[in-house]
């Protein structure tokens, strides 16, 4: 029976993957051919979605983007034999966008059936856990530390050091918390993994639990991802039935289980202490630090809070060894980073590469430049609180330190591209507006400063005493950066100041479009 792959990923579904699968299930038998349709994750080439793949003796052949109406003609044209023709891209693995990547974390995403443990194991799954079970907790932690893995959520804190801190706390209830509140607009790596390779995340969290002595894990998923929440909950159930979660993980003496929790529409809950408050059932107000969550985290107990992508890197590190992982990357940024190309990009999608790739290679080489075909003017890396960088800085390597040196940050790896029609003053205003809308309200600089920031930028745009108002804005940015309790207020000046520094001309003319209040 011919195996056909049609993604069940939310991004593919939004462009009609369900209807394509239905059309295949209807049209193939009508031609006397029986097929097996596998709903895989996405390969991360969004401009080709829905991407249909057919398994042949030579490998998997890709067709896309496939509309439901294309299906009869594709079948008649020999899709099930992998014949070339309209919409055919040849071997999936040979498509340059995929072939030129270094996929460690996303090695299986889009390849396997996300809910088949057999498939997961056949593609190297659960080898990391097997090795971890043969090691002492301290040895697991040292392996992660030696890999050089740093937090993939934004701050870039060494994961091994965080785990060591939790391991060193006295025995008692400890927790593992996976941050899947992927709120940065233009990012989707967490979602793709939850839907496309959930056992990888379960394996990574389980290894973390065994390493630090935690028996319970939570994954906090943003409510905008109901599909991912259902997919991940289903995977937890399957892992539990197979004895990979529960009282005796894989028949060992270790207990570990995971509970999936849904957020409720608060960007701030991506901040780790706010997330912990939310998990405890409270308003998502940021906590003072110290104490660090590693010492007093969820319900006051020692807690490892890591981004989902950090946990996702762990099985590879354990299975292949720290040196294998550390061999990728540059400087103090080791391993690979799943970059997410979005905005005005010709070929948006997921690109996993070793640290050190330049922004230009990512945007032009993989992304193919702007979708509009107009000149690129600005790039925002690291979500809505990342700096706007001009074209002249595109040769900066993607590396925690190199980006920081030009005033940028990697964040969660989102890269949003803007062409020359962008009004940077408007973007700067949006940053303040975003902060005002999403502030938890606990600290004054963020709660009040962001609203004042919108007002001051409006004054500048109205050309009212521009030098004095720009000085005021700079002063306000300094207070936000230095005195905010968490990164929301602390990073909001990034987009504002970088827009002022690199695109001053946009602040000294009438705005291109009338600006109306947009926050709710």
């Amino acid at each position: 029976m011919t195996r056909v792959f049609v993604p069940g990923d939310a991004a593919a579904l939004s462009v009609g993957a369900e209807e394509v699968a239905e059309a295949l299930a209807r049209e193939a038998p009508a031609r006397g051919v029986s097929i097996e349709i596998i709903r895989n994750g996405s390969r991360g080439m969004f401009w080709l979605e829905p991407l249909v793949e057919v398994e042949t003796a030579a490998g998997r052949i890709a067709y896309g983007p496939v509309a439901p109406a294309d299906v009869p003609a594709l079948l008649d044209g020999g899709l099930l034999e992998g014949k070339p023709g309209a919409l055919c891209h040849g071997l999936t693995e040979a498509i340059p966008y995929l072939a030129n990547q270094e996929r460690l974390t996303f090695a299986r995403c889009g390849v396997t059936d996300p809910f088949s443990l057999d498939d997961y194991r056949a593609h190297g799954g659960y080898r990391g856990l097997a090795r971890a079970l043969a090691l002492t907790p301290a040895a697991i932690v040292e392996e992660v530390a030696a890999s050089g893995l740093r937090g993939r959520g934004g701050a870039g804190f060494p994961t091994g050091i965080k785990w060591r801190t939790v391991l060193e706390q006295p025995a008692g209830q400890k927790y593992i918390v996976a941050n899947a509140d992927e709120g940065d607009s233009g990012t989707f790596a967490d979602r793709m993994l939850m839907e496309g390779d959930p056992f990888l995340l379960i394996e990574g969290m389980t290894i973390a639990g065994i390493a630090v002595g935690a028996t319970k894990g939570y994954i906090y998923i943003r409510s905008e991802y109901p599909h991912a929440f259902r997919a991940f909950s289903r995977a937890i159930h399957i892992a539990r039935e197979a004895g990979l979660l529960g009282e005796r993980v894989s028949g060992s003496a270790h207990a570990f289980d995971i509970e999936a929790r849904l957020g409720a529409g608060a960007y701030i809950c991506g901040e780790e202490t706010s997330l912990l408050e939310s998990l405890e059932g409270k308003r998502g107000l940021v906590r003072y630090r110290p104490p660090l969550p590693a010492i007093q985290g969820l319900f006051g107990q020692p807690t490892v809070v890591n981004n989902l992508l950090s946990f996702a890197a762990v099985p590879t590190i354990l299975a292949e060894g720290a040196a294998f992982y550390a061999n990728y990357g540059m400087g103090r940024s080791r391993g690979t980073m799943p970059l997410q190309l979005a905005g005005n990009m010709r070929r948006g999608g997921l690109v996993e590469k070793a640290f050190g790739i330049t922004m230009r290679d990512a945007i032009e080489g993989f992304g193919g430049g702007t979708a509009s075909g107009r000149p690129l003017r600005a790039v925002q890396v690291g979500g809505p609180l990342g700096a706007y960088l001009p074209e002249s800085l595109l040769d900066t390597p993607i590396d925690y330190e190199a980006l920081a040196a030009v005033g940028g940050m990697l964040g969660h790896g989102g890269i949003v591209v803007f062409d020359d029609t962008v009004d940077m003053a408007r973007q700067a205003r949006f940053a303040m507006e975003f902060c005002a809308a999403e502030s938890c309200g606990k600290c004054t600089p963020c709660r009040i400063g962001s609203t004042r920031g919108v007002e001051v930028i409006d004054q500048v745009l109205a050309r009212a005493d521009v030098p004095a108002n720009l000085a005021l804005l700079d002063d306000l940015c300094e207070v936000l950066a230095d005195a905010s309790l968490c990164a929301l207020g602390g990073l909001t000046p990034n987009p504002v100041r970088s827009a002022l520094r690199h695109f001053p001309e946009d602040f000294d003319r009438a705005p291109a479009v009338t600006i109306a209040a947009t926050s709710g």
Binding site: S185, G263, F299, G348, V416
Partner: protein
């Protein structure tokens, strides 16, 4: 509009939740999934079930933008505020819908039958600029398509 659910019905709905386990959010989600909003009486029931105060439940329910304390309008348009949609003229889509519906962002019609809310990027940016009509993506909008959509929503409601 349906009447408020009974205490008994609510007690059964949240019976699985336990105190001190962070069950506030799951309980609120379950109530909202059932009724489309969090009735006032539900907060009392959840508080009792979780051995805490209604004030704490109310605090959580009002912090998160997903939770609503009033029944949702029959038709709700959520306008995506993400950057991909903005880049493709999302602000003009919003203005067109606001003017046609005659409600502000975050507002509802006087009869409560339709409303316009701010949405956060859900990653389906290939469809930008988009809105969600009762959670169904309506993408690749133009100003004229948006006006037609809003007129349909308004017409059906009148």
């Amino acid at each position: 509009m349906q009447a408020e659910p009974s205490m008994q019905e609510l007690r059964e709905l949240v019976a699985e939740f336990r105190p001190n386990r962070g069950h506030v959010m799951p309980a609120l989600h379950k109530v909202q999934d059932r009724y489309g909003y969090i009735p006032r009486v539900a907060m009392d029931v959840i508080a009792r079930q979780l051995n805490t105060t209604p004030a704490l439940i109310y605090g959580a329910a009002t912090f998160y933008t997903d939770f609503r304390l009033h029944p949702r309008p029959e038709t709700e348009i959520s306008w995506c505020s993400g950057p991909a949609c903005r880049l493709k003229g999302g602000d003009r889509i919003r203005e067109a819908i606001q003017q046609t519906l005659e409600v502000p962002l975050g507002g509802e019609s006087e009869d409560g039958r339709y409303g316009l809310h701010i949405g956060q990027c859900n990653g389906t940016c290939t469809e930008a600029p988009q809105v969600w009509v009762n959670e169904k993506v309506v993408g690749n909008l133009t100003v004229s398509k948006a006006i037609r959509l809003a007129r349909d929503v308004k017409g059906e409601a009148e």
